[in-house]
Symmetry: C2
Subunit: 156 residues, 2 copies
DNA sequence: CTACCTGCAAACTCTTTGCAAGCAG
DNA sequence: CTGCTTGCAAAGAGTTTGCAGGTAG
């Protein structure tokens, strides 16, 4: 059966992977949902539309996308992986994360990113040279307590 | 039996925890070993000296130390936790990590840290104000390929 | 047609928990 | 003594894998 592949399917093919309903759906979900989805969360959204697709496919797809650099794998310390479309593939602009250690809420911020970009690029270049390393990604996360958790703690 | 508690034991007591052989040993190991140890690695070193101490104790101790801020819990994407003594409690200076996505090797670097400190402090203050967040830690990691893995890849 | 892809179930790995016994303070 | 700590075994959670059947190209 000939499948009609959308933009995501075509990208996958460019990378030498097949365009399948599951893979396309997962990518669509990543594009239209809020960020930082865990495999289980992606799976639950997948099931709404295509109940026949399994959790295993989500895991396998996410690994492919991560290897291709199409998604970024985050770890916010809640014991499960979380993914978001990489800058190059999403409409969202470059941002970093503010993570509440208590409730695990994630706040995206892109204040200072222009500053950061210049600064990080400088560091990356220097580190690459000094340590003979090919850098292709960075993670910057600030951990702390969000306003809600702060208030709750004061009450105790 | 009266126990003779070392510097680490005293610190634990200051925090309201008991000084036990297991806890002291784990802290000594953290101080004298290379960084970024996983629970299993710590356990293996513990066993060399005190085979009666169990892995569970390592996990429980690391959680305490993490909550107290005495250690930093790292996640380098190899599916297990890794710990290092926090800056305040170790002799090592502030540093960040360069992580090879392929072999998971970690390179500590402290080039630019002075620059970074000033810059990060500025960002932290601004983020705290704007997002009403109490920041108490940050993670900065660069991911890429180390020289060895780069060479290996070229051969393929 | 063929190699890649999939769902299912089982396996695996790391981490956490319940419990009775042990020990620090 | 008393309540925090511990080791063990078992449970839990997230992720990976083997395999037989399915499908994209």
């Amino acid at each position: 059966m000939k499948r009609h592949c959308g933009i995501w399917g075509h990208r996958l093919r460019n990378y030498g992977f097949k365009c399948t309903p599951g893979r396309e759906l997962i990518l669509e979900i990543l594009e239209t949902s809020e960020e930082h989805l865990s495999p289980e969360e992606i799976y639950s959204k997948v099931k709404d539309e295509h109940p026949e697709i399994g959790l295993t496919t989500v895991y396998r797809t996410m690994e492919i996308l991560n290897n291709l650099g199409m998604v970024i794998k985050l770890d916010i310390g809640d014991g499960r992986a979380r993914y978001e479309l990489s800058e190059d593939h999403s409409k969202k602009s470059h941002h970093h994360h503010l993570i509440c250690s208590t409730c695990k809420k994630i706040i995206d911020y892109n204040d200072f990113v222009e500053d950061e970009k210049v600064y990080l690029l400088k560091i990356e270049k220097a580190l690459e040279k000094r340590h003979n390393f090919k850098i292709n990604n960075h993670v910057i996360q600030f951990y702390g307590k969000c306003s809600t958790c702060n208030k709750n703690e004061e009450k105790i």
